[in-house]
Symmetry: C2
Subunit: 253 residues, 2 copies
DNA sequence: CGCGACCTTGAGTAGGCTCAATGCCGGTGG
DNA sequence: CCACCGGCATTGAGCCTACTCAAGGTCGCG
């Protein structure tokens, strides 16, 4: 792939992976770490805007996000786009492709990013030899299903302003979970209003006006491609409760 | 639970499970069957309209649908409802509850139904002793994520008539996969227009009018709580292509 | 016979869409 | 150094899809 820069070999030994220091990730035994090491086949670097994989392709790899952001989306034949979710450091990608015949969605980098690469065959070895890690993989799948459930509820049943409030809270929570913002509510992610619109099933113009309402209501601040949450309570009120899932200690492959 | 009728012991030995005869389900080895037998702790019968579990509760059980239909949904505090998906024979339910702290969604029977019950602890035994079955569980989770992706695309980016067309096709395909309809396109499921509306993020009235358009266009027929697909091509055209996922041979726990 | 569940239809409204134009900023090439 | 261009945010105007409120019809059941 011309656009993907393959970095040679293992760059970061898993034991030293900076992500593992974060308290959201459950500690691994050294035996588990050794296996993950052997499972990992290298790293990839991606520039903002580049695709990691595309709908319809088969994808032999699995990935863990080391740094940077991406989003997962689907397109309709005429080009309408629905963003399904955002991928943050620690997220495990490509399970669908390794388990099914072909990818049913695409993933594109939102910022420059680095990912760990695993071979599909390794996944089978993982299941054969490490019950705990297998369980972790399933756990991650179940969790991402929960997030999709929430998103579907939002898009199906919330009004525009409720959707915006809910999404912004959700993003702020996820970002701060993995330590990407020093203050919990100052979010610095390279997201455009078009992304928000495509996430929420709204038009760009209407998204802009709706964010405008939140800005004028002093609930958030928006300055080119990043935002800040000023009034968390107001947003939670609008969103109809804060549905962040607690007990968020999770595995990191 | 007053409303749930617990049937004693194992009613149907897994080897004789009528579902296994269907060609959509991958054949199990007798060793696997024996394990599933030992994993299964009994059956439950549910009457139409009864809940299987509710959001916020913890749920120690896993279920496989033996017969009947159900749907999975979430509610907003003010009562707005979003249906997330439909559960059909062979579907595996409750993974989220077994793997996370508590249920983030509810499930309600659409018709009378019978389900196999498994204990949450058994799942751990399964992962420890049967790599193949563990992989199957993950496979099922990945597949239901794909279905959610499709649904989210629909609700977020399709117009009312496109959503209806897509959903009806999808339901018809799933139902005929598990042999619930003799002709592929005559669907007999006890679904109301309110369910359709809540699945698609539309109001009841608008759903009714939209279905009316499809009926007048001779694409479908609707007679109280069941429907028939008359013109599959027209629906596929409206839906923007048939996105049924091929290679649908799947495991059955 | 009355009631409840579901489907249908009408009328008026509004939330969200499209089209279109403008402003801002950063990068790039002449 | 400046002109131009592309990406993003913003705003106005008009329209239409989908919503709400409301009423009526059918059917099955106690």
């Amino acid at each position: 792939m011309a656009h993907k820069k393959e970095l040679q070999g293992r760059q970061v030994p898993c034991q030293l992976c900076p992500l593992r220091k974060q308290k959201v990730f459950r500690p691994f035994t050294s035996e588990e770490l050794a296996f993950v090491m052997s499972f990992k086949s290298g790293e990839v670097a991606l520039k903002a805007g580049e695709p990691l994989f595309l709908e319809g392709n088969s994808c032999a790899n699995l990935y863990t996000v080391l740094s940077g952001l991406a989003f997962r989306f689907k397109l309709l034949p005429d080009g309408r786009r629905q963003i399904l979710n955002y991928c943050m450091p620690g997220d495990f990608l490509g399970l669908q492709g390794s388990v099914m015949l072909e990818m049913q969605h695409s993933v594109e980098a939102l910022s420059d990013m680095v990912l760990c690469v695993f071979q599909r065959e390794g996944l089978w070895r993982l299941f054969e030899s490490h019950a705990g890690l297998s369980f972790d993989v399933t756990w991650l799948a179940a969790r991402s299903e929960q997030l999709l459930d929430q998103q579907l509820l939002s898009v199906g049943r919330r009004s525009a302003i409720e959707r915006c409030a809910h999404l912004l809270l959700h993003l702020a929570d996820r970002v701060s979970e993995v330590g990407l913002s020093r203050k919990r509510d100052t979010i610095r992610i390279p997201i455009t209003q078009q992304h928000i619109a495509d996430t929420l099933g709204l038009s760009l113009v209407h998204t802009n006006r709706t964010l405008g309402r939140l800005i004028r209501g002093r609930a958030i601040r928006w300055r080119e491609q990043e935002f800040e949450i000023l009034d968390r309570d107001q947003l939670a009120e609008l969103a109809g409760g804060d549905d962040a899932i607690p007990g968020a200690v999770r595995p990191l492959l």
